[in-house]
């Protein structure tokens, strides 16, 4: 039996994670979740976010993950058509730049963004957080369609 799968099923049997979390982890490994360990259904409020993330981290590096996204795409169709492709490296570099902006300038930026309805505290954004955000963007897809037939799609690939 695959080591990762065994580990996940072991955690399920121990009640560390719930059945839903086990299924999610097994899906991430690219394996079917048909065979669950006994007693899995009775695992009540077991699974914690820490256990889940530890399980994901414990998965072997060779697990099948999609390649890291390279571009952020924005497509708007409707009356006007807009296609934008932005390298994610640019976003990463821009976010990392926030840590070296002078504090007075940063306060003004934060204030302006708050007034526009975006309350983001860049001071607490660490470089590893930025990497994780960008890496997880591969799963992101936003699709909006309004009643006028305008269609907006945002995704990373």
């Amino acid at each position: 039996m695959n080591e990762d799968r065994k580990r996940i099923l072991g955690m399920l049997a121990a009640g560390t994670i719930t059945a839903d979390e086990a299924e999610m982890l097994l899906d991430a490994l690219g394996m079917p979740a048909a065979d669950t360990a006994p007693g899995a259904a009775s695992a009540g409020a077991g699974g914690t976010a820490d256990a889940t993330s530890a399980a994901v981290g414990a998965a072997s590096p060779g697990t099948a993950r999609a390649a890291l996204p390279k571009y952020l795409y924005v497509r708007v169709t409707g009356d006007d058509r807009v296609d934008v492709k932005v390298p994610l490296g640019l976003l990463k570099a821009g976010l990392k730049l926030t840590s070296v902006i002078p504090p007075q300038a940063m306060d003004q930026i934060t204030q302006s963004m708050s007034q526009s309805g975006m309350s983001i505290d860049f001071d607490n954004l660490k470089p590893e957080d930025i990497e994780e955000i960008v890496n997880e963007l591969r799963e992101m897809e936003v699709t909006v369609e309004d009643k006028n037939g305008n269609h907006v799609r945002v995704w990373c690939a």
């Binding site: 807009v82 730049l97 002078p102």
Partner: protein
């Protein structure tokens, strides 16, 4: 070991408006690299001096060199950016950075 990524080499801009003359710009941006290098070095020297002075006077912030390097790092990351806008009146704006 990180790979040195160069600034954009070409920038294409195309603007087309119905009933008006088309505008097309193909900019061999790589010709500006020597100038960018000179400006970058001068700015780096100035920022190093500024940081040194600020450090000596005890200022809380003395990261202008890091800021400059961060800004310069943005330039190569713009490669691959494309913007394509077509309005319903068939006017078109196309920008590609390679």
């Amino acid at each position: 070991m990180s790979i040195v990524v160069l600034p954009p080499a070409f920038i294409n801009v195309r603007v087309h408006k119905e009933g008006e003359a088309h505008f097309r710009l193909w900019l061999p941006f790589f010709l500006l690299w020597p100038l960018l290098l000179v400006v970058g070095i001068l700015a780096l020297i100035a920022s190093l001096l500024a940081d040194l002075v600020l450090l000596l006077v005890g200022a809380a912030y003395h990261g202008f060199t890091r800021l400059l390097l961060g800004v310069l790092k943005l330039l190569p990351e713009t490669r691959g950016t494309t913007v394509h806008v077509r309005a319903k009146d068939s006017s078109l704006v196309d920008v590609t950075i390679r």
